[in-house]
Amino acid sequence: MKVVIMGCGRVGARIASILDHNGHDVAVVDIDARAFRRLPNDFRGNTVIGTGIDEDVLRAAGIEDASAFVAVTNGDNRNIMAAQVARLMFEVPEVICRIYDPVREDTYRRLGLTTVCPTTTVSALILDHVIGAGDLLGARGREA
C-alpha cells in the first residue's frame, strides 16, 4: 500500500517508520528537512521537502497513486486544507487528518473528513486514569 504522510514530527515519523517496517511504500513530506532526522536509519521510504498544501509537492510525493494520506503537521488548518486537497483533487481513498481543536474537529468530521483529535482522546485517557481509577479503587474498597 502506498501512503503519503504530511508532517514528520513524532507522530508522523512513527507512523512512517511502522508502515515502512510492515513493507508499505511510504513518502513523508515536511517543510523542514531537519525533521527527517526523526526517521530511523533503515527507513526505506521517500522524503520530500515542501508544504503539503501545495499540489506539486504532493504530486512529487506520489499522491496520485496513494491509497492513503495522513495529515499530521502541528497546524490544524494546514492539516484540514491538505486533507481536503488529497480527497477532492487527488481522490485518495483513505484520508486521515489530525485536528487539535475539538470544535474544528467536530465541524470537519461532519463534513466527511476522517479526523483524529488528540485533545479529546488524550484527555479521555488521562481522565480515565484519574476518575476511572478513583472509582475503581472506591468500588474495590467497598467490596473488601
Partner: protein
Amino acid sequence: MYIIVVGGGKVGYYLTKTLLNEGHEVLLIERNPEKVSTFAERFGAVVVAGDGAEAATLAAAGAARADVVIAVTGEDEDNLVVCQSARQKFHVGRTIARVNNPKNEQLFRLLGIDVTVSQTNYILNLIEQSIPERSFLHLLSLRHADLAIIEAKIGEGSPVTNRTIAEVQLPVDCVIAAIARGPELIVPTPATQILPGDDIIALTHREQEDELRRLLGCFVAT
C-alpha cells in the same frame, strides 16, 4: 451590512478602513494583540484580538448575524478554514477568501467559498498588460460564466485587417465589445472596419480564447 474581516495585514487594514468609510458595520479580527491595539487607536472598538479560525472567536464576533465574512490573512489554509467555519457553523451567506497561491483558487471554489481573490494573479495580469510586445492579453476572467475579457492588438498581417465586423466569422460565444483606435473607443457596429493598430476588446468563452487568438492573427502566447 455587517462584515467581519479576518487578518489585519495591509489588505485587512485598508479593507477595514474602506468598508468603514462606506458606512458598513465592520469587525476586524487579528491574532497579534499589538496590532490590535494600534488598529483600535485608529478605528475605535471595531478590532478584536483572536484567531478567526476558532469557532469561539467567530461566535463572540457575532458571526451568526454577519452578512459577509472576508478572510485576508497571508496563509491560504487559515483563510480556507475561516470561510468554511463561517459557512458551516454560522451559516454566513457570503464568504470571500484571499488566495495567496493562485493554484488554490479551484480548490477553494470546490469547497464552497463564494469568492476567491488572488492578488498574485491580478498583479501578474497588470504586469502582463504593461509589457508592450504582447499582442493578445487576458484582461479579466468572469469565473461564474466561464467567460473572459481579452484585448488583442491587430497587426498589419492580421487576417481580419481592413474587414468589417460583419465579414469576420467569430467563434461561437465571442463578441467584440469595443475597439480602441488611438484616443478613441469605438463601440462597433457590423459595418465597423477593423484597421491595423486597433486594440480589440472582446468578451469570449474561455474555451474559445485560443481560436479567437488565431482568428485575429495573434500568435504570441499569453
